[in-house]
């Protein structure tokens, strides 16, 4: 782990530990929980897009698979929550592998549409054959482990963000590993990678599966926290929202995905006061921030910090 990552990691853990102590307001913690759930999906998409260079508009599909499979396994099959969550991730990984083999041969807009199509098909399936159909189903058990059930908002906050920290630890190490370097190489030039003897296709499929597993983990957390799910939470709109989080935070930095997830989740809450104008203001803020913070919030922040430290910023 590099120095910057290590300090960011410590800061993250500090914030996770401190926030519930300073603000016991369940409202803020709930928004925090949703930010964390979204961050998990965004981190997965960030590795896929920023490092492997593959677009996906189908993350909502894997998110939905995670939520539904975990709920069905725990409600109807009576499995322990942890087992059903792992089951959900396995199913999502399998779905991702099946989709990845033909889809990752496509590129650019065509890949985007293929993943979009996959997400929408999952959405239709959940609507038609999911338990409860379009209106969804409830009474999903809360998260429990070794007989201890989490009911409190604070408990869920620690659970979700604890998992974000674990996932982040794994992701940062992955990025700086041999695989991570290979991924960045794929992003820059697939042809060169092939020439160097890297199995590009296998690498892309693995990353695609990883991003699906993250999304499924987030989906199952969502289901066991809210205890009620319906297909509308897993539509194309969610995939686009996650994409927005990754871009706003900065596609080249996984920490950006966490910041992006928090910003995009908190923003609509702050805009409540605009009532009927909230959609308009939301759109304007997005447009302006995309135009003026083009690299994303975190890369810009890093540049600023480096400048303050007096480092010469090397421009590419």
């Amino acid at each position: 782990m590099k120095k910057g990552d290590a300090s960011a990691f410590l800061l993250l853990i500090f914030l996770i530990a401190v926030l519930p102590i300073f603000s016991g307001s369940p409202y803020i913690l709930t928004v925090g929980i949703f930010s964390g759930i979204n961050a998990l999906v965004a981190i997965g998409l960030c590795i896929l897009m920023g490092f492997a260079g593959q677009v996906s508009l189908g993350q909502a599909g894997f998110y939905g698979i995670g939520a539904y499979v975990s709920s069905v396994l725990s409600v109807h099959a009576g499995l322990p929550i942890v087992v059903s969550m792992i089951g959900a991730m396995v199913v999502a990984a399998f779905a991702a592998a099946v989709l990845a083999v033909p889809a990752l041969r496509l590129k650019g807009h065509y890949l985007a549409v293929a993943t979009l199509g996959f997400g929408e098909i999952i959405y239709v399936i959940l609507n038609e054959w999911g338990p409860g159909g379009p209106s969804g189903f409830g009474d999903i058990p809360h998260f429990n482990l070794f007989g201890y059930t989490i009911h409190s908002t604070t408990g869920y906050f620690y659970l979700v963000w604890g998992l974000v920290a674990v996932v982040m630890f794994f992701t940062v190490n992955l990025i700086h590993s041999r695989t991570g370097r290979a991924l960045r190489a794929v992003h820059d030039s697939e042809i060169a990678c092939n020439a160097m003897g890297l199995d590009v296709a296998a690498l892309k499929i693995k990353v695609f599966i990883l991003s699906a597993v993250y999304a499924a983990l987030a989906g199952s957390l969502y289901a066991h926290y809210v205890t009620f799910i319906s297909p509308s939470s897993f539509s194309l709109f969610y995939s686009i929202l996650v994409l927005m989080m990754v871009i706003v935070g900065g596609i080249t930095n996984v920490w950006g995905s966490i910041i992006g997830a928090v910003v995009i989740t908190v923003l609509p809450e702050l805009l409540r006061r605009f009532e009927e104008l909230d959609v308009l203001v939301y759109g304007l803020i997005l447009t302006v921030s995309l135009m003026f913070f083009r690299k994303g919030l975190v890369p810009i922040l890093i540049e600023k910090i480096n400048k303050l430290r007096g480092f010469a910023v090397v421009k590419r």
């Binding site: 033909p102 650019g108 065509y110 929408e120 239709v124 038609e128 995309l290």
Partner: protein, 295 residues
């Protein structure tokens, strides 16, 4: 049997015509800029709602309303390009596409603020008895939709083949640097492409509203379907978008009619995935052509 089949076929053609127009709209901007303008669906909504505004709310004559709606849509396209696309120098393509999504949210916000969440409708372009072919009932407006789509396709064909602006736009699509070298104002062509795609979308919206009503949030669905139509035919190919639009429209209406209405979106998308997996560049674009473009 035949009657029911024809009925489904005609309803599929009507929806397909609008998908085709949205798909063509995507192609026009894509050809000039490589951008997928995901606010394309909002242009259709603007067409429908502004037509209602001019003809029903202000009670202007039909042709004046049509002209004013087209001008409004063109202005929206112009403003969108000048305010959000042009100021960015050498931007990342993905970023541009996200900006078009953000702009579509802004447009939806404006439309919702003014028109609210209710669906709007105005009378068909011509009054009269519906036609009956082998027992299948066809509203006159359906013929208008299909006719207007056909007219747009032919007009665009001549625009790109015969006029100097159209040829210049095609040149930008093939190679922007070379186009600039022979004295084509690439930036202006990008602007024209946004205006043109907005107008094409708005025309679709004006034609379809008497049949299927129009509300502020129909845009994303239309954009997704039109995008699928364009991809199915091969991005950049207008006849591909037309064929793709009609295939998706007819598949949807046949699935809804014969199998189950809830599955109509899935069937069209499964066909799209299959086409992409076996012919990754779409129906009308060769793989070699695809490799020439980065996206």
């Amino acid at each position: 049997m035949l009657t029911v089949f024809l009925q489904f076929l005609f309803s599929g053609l009507t929806v397909g015509a609008v998908y085709a127009l949205v798909g063509i709209g995507f192609n026009i901007t894509y050809n000039a800029t490589s951008i997928i303008n995901l606010a394309q669906g909002e242009f259709v909504v603007i067409g429908g709602l502004m037509m209602w505004f001019f003809s029903e709310s202000l009670k202007l004559p039909f042709f004046v309303s049509v002209v004013l709606t087209i001008i409004t849509a063109g202005l929206v396209g112009l403003l969108m390009e000048r305010l959000t696309i042009k100021p960015l120098k050498n931007p990342d393509l993905l970023l541009m596409i996200m900006i078009t999504i953000a702009v579509s949210i802004v447009l939806r916000g404006v439309l919702m603020f003014y028109f609210g969440k209710d669906p709007y409708v105005y009378p068909a372009f011509t009054e009269g008895e519906p036609l009956s072919i082998y027992g299948a009932i066809i509203q006159q407006q359906t013929l208008w939709v299909i006719g207007i789509t056909g007219f747009c396709i032919i007009a665009l064909f001549f625009f790109f083949k015969k006029t100097i602006i159209g040829k210049a736009m095609l040149a930008c699509a093939v190679n922007p640097t070379a186009a600039q070298l022979v004295g084509i104002n690439v930036s202006r062509m990008v602007m024209v492409s946004f205006i043109l795609s907005a107008i094409v979308g708005a025309i679709g919206g004006m034609a379809i509203t008497p049949i299927s009503l129009m509300e502020y949030d129909k845009g994303p669905m239309l954009a997704v379907k039109g995008f699928c139509a364009a991809i199915m035919g091969g991005l950049g190919s207008n006849r591909g978008a037309v064929l793709g639009g009609f295939i998706i429209g007819i598949l949807e209406s046949m699935t809804a009619g014969y199998i189950h209405s809830g599955l109509k979106d899935a069937v069209a998308l499964i066909i799209l995935l299959l086409i992409l997996f076996f012919k990754p560049a779409g129906l009308f674009v060769s793989k070699a052509m695809l490799q020439l473009r980065k996206y």
